[in-house]
């Protein structure tokens, strides 16, 4: 595969995998927590949180990217503070991961929230009467039973992160080796004459990764469902 892809194309694929992996891994605990809060808790500002989580889904990606730039850029309110600790997002692959994570977050939260809502609260009550504290109820009943949704949400988020373009290019530009993920690379190849071949190879990689993710999620989902369903 390394021979088939040129060094520049390979770099884009590796970077995309790296960016999507970290975007997914870091946002997963936060996604589960947010989904649980939206599914089970009532608190002031719940609708606001719900709106904020879903915002990247409905805003133009370029707007999301620009807002990230304003907030997490080196001179932004959050970016400035983080830069003092040595965490820099602007024009780095970490920024691409942040953009991908933010864009994929609503999809992840939606899938997990639906599966948590489908867990019968009566089972959680039963768990509590048997001596499980709320944290143990979550770990031993809610999460295992919501596992199909968590798996689906994770894979969906990963696929979305692989395909993120608008927010990424606005926030962290299109720097080879730093922020040039597969979509940005395809875009860049198409801007230069004779780049169609490379672009096509990356298109094929995209399709393969997306299909693979989908099949994997089906497979895991079916296994988990069989476990939960009995027999």
């Amino acid at each position: 595969m390394t021979d088939w892809l040129g060094p520049e194309e390979w770099r884009a694929v590796a970077l995309s995998l790296q960016v999507s992996f970290w975007a997914t891994v870091i946002s997963l605990p936060l996604g589960i927590l947010t989904a649980y809060a939206l599914a089970r808790w009532t608190f002031p500002g719940k609708q606001l949180l719900n709106g904020l989580v879903h915002l990247p889904l409905i805003l133009p990606p370029v707007v999301t990217g620009y807002l990230l730039l304003l907030t997490f850029g080196t001179r932004g309110p959050v970016g400035g503070i983080l830069a003092d600790w040595g965490i820099v997002f602007a024009f780095r692959w970490t920024g691409a991961a942040l953009a991908a994570g933010v864009m994929a977050f609503p999809l992840m939260v939606r899938a997990i929230r639906l599966s948590i809502e489908a867990v019968d609260p009566k089972l959680e009550q039963a768990s509590a009467t048997l001596g499980a504290s709320p944290a143990w109820v979550f770990l031993t009943v809610t999460m295992p039973m919501a596992l199909p949704g968590i798996v689906a949400g994770t894979i969906l988020a990963f696929a979305k992160a692989m395909g993120e373009f608008g927010a990424t290019i606005t926030f962290v530009s299109n720097i080879p080796g730093q922020t040039r993920t597969i979509p940005s690379a395809i875009y860049a190849f198409l801007q230069v004459p004779g780049g169609e071949g490379s672009a096509m190879k990356l298109v094929i990689v995209s399709v393969v990764v997306a299909m693979g993710a989908l099949l994997l999620s089906e497979l895991i989902g079916r296994r988990v469902a069989a476990r939960v369903g009995g027999a």
Binding site: Q125, S127, A128, T129, L130, G131, P144
Partner: protein
């Protein structure tokens, strides 16, 4: 002794109930909507009542005046839910072990092997709940509650979701629980025959209030506390098996009066509780002659309670205990039945259904105090 006092208001319904639950099975008895489940949920901590106190000795679960509201997971109760509520993603073995895992290490606990034997679920241990029948799920749910090292067992109509055959299968397990396990049980039911078979103490509820409470034989013998109306009325007698006859009858004895019932499996000497439905009892002013019915209990009328329709419930004191009879008001007038009058109660042998006969238990009445029926 568990003491419960709860006050809670829902829209259009106010619960204000207080009762005591001595050791054994305390049945909360009443029609649906009388507040039984609300009370059990308050004891379990799944519902926080507006005000109340739930305590047993120095173990306080709830005391709103003192600001004590123990969280459900700190109450150490074994709650047997109506629908079982087994964890579908765990095996039967894991379900059974779930509560024990959270119990304090030094808590007195039942041996898993003993409970598995008691409930006959040894062959199910590696299955998941999805592969169990209704009756099997019920038994696993009982075992799961029992193995969580509880200080009190709660059961909210655990048989209501089962058909008659399954009920007959599960009820004996609750009798064994009562007779072999020393944990007090708070049991919700609206079935008179379940109450008759299981209850040590009955707390009768109506519209969120306690109408009557006390030993089972006393409360069930009181025609005022019949949640399901006169149709379900019936008294409970405690009787000892004397011998089994070759013609398929079993002879029992209650307070010196012989009772003939369809064959029971218990050995002579066992104590049984027998529910006699009020509509199966005839009254006669003189000792009847030439009658096919085998059981005749002489007694004195204690109370006559006219019903809303043409019927009346007559409570008799007999040597065997209190007996209820449901007759028409016309007959009551024709026979001159009034408190103090001597009558004979007549009960057909075949009218006593097997589901109305249960093993004795510990403390239903002062009569024949033998240990459990299987002993």
């Amino acid at each position: 002794m568990l003491e419960v006092a709860v006050r809670h208001s829902f829209e259009g319904f106010t619960l204000d109930a207080a009762f005591r639950a001595p050791p054994g099975v305390t049945v909360l008895f009443g029609r649906s909507g009388s507040g039984k489940t609300t009370i059990v949920n308050a004891v379990a901590g799944l519902l926080m009542p507006d005000a109340g106190r739930i305590a047993s000795g120095d173990w306080t679960l709830l005391d709103t005046d003192a600001g004590i509201r123990l969280k459900p997971h700190r109450r150490r109760l074994g709650y047997i839910f109506q629908e079982g509520r087994l964890f579908p993603h765990l095996t039967v073995r894991q379900n059974l072990g779930y509560g024990a895992w959270f119990a304090p290490r030094d808590a007195p606990r039942e041996e898993i092997g003993h409970v598995v034997d008691l409930l006959g679920i040894g062959h199910l241990l590696d299955r998941r709940p999805g592969a169990l029948s209704g009756g099997e799920k019920s038994r696993v749910a009982i075992g799961r509650a029992l193995l969580s090292a509880p200080r009190l067992i709660l059961a909210d109509e655990p048989l209501a979701a089962l058909d008659e055959a399954r009920k007959a299968e599960i009820l004996p397990y609750f009798e064994r629980l009562r007779d072999e396990v020393s944990i007090p049980i708070l049991y919700v039911s609206h079935s008179a025959s379940e109450v008759a078979r299981l209850a040590t103490t009955v707390v009768a509820l109506d519209a969120g209030r306690v109408v009557s409470q006390g030993p089972a034989a006393e409360v069930l013998g009181d025609p005022a506390v019949l949640p399901a109306g006169a149709r379900e009325a019936g008294a409970v007698l405690t009787a000892r098996v004397v011998r089994h006859h070759e013609d398929g009858l079993s002879e029992l004895e209650a307070g010196g009066i012989p009772l003939f019932l369809p064959h029971v499996v218990q050995v002579p000497g066992s104590t049984l509780r027998v529910r006699i439905a009020a509509h199966d009892v005839l009254l006669s002013r003189s000792r009847p002659e030439g009658l096919s019915a085998l059981n005749i209990l002489p007694g004195t009328v204690a109370e006559v309670r006219p019903g809303e329709g043409p019927g009346a419930i007559v409570a008799l004191e007999t040597a065997a205990g209190r007996v209820l009879a449901r007759i028409t008001r016309r007959s009551a007038a024709a026979l001159g039945i009034a408190p103090g009058v001597e009558v004979h109660a007549v009960v057909k042998t075949v009218s006593v259904a097997p589901s109305d006969i249960g093993v004795g238990g510990r403390a239903i009445s002062s009569l024949g105090r033998h240990s459990g029926g299987d002993a």
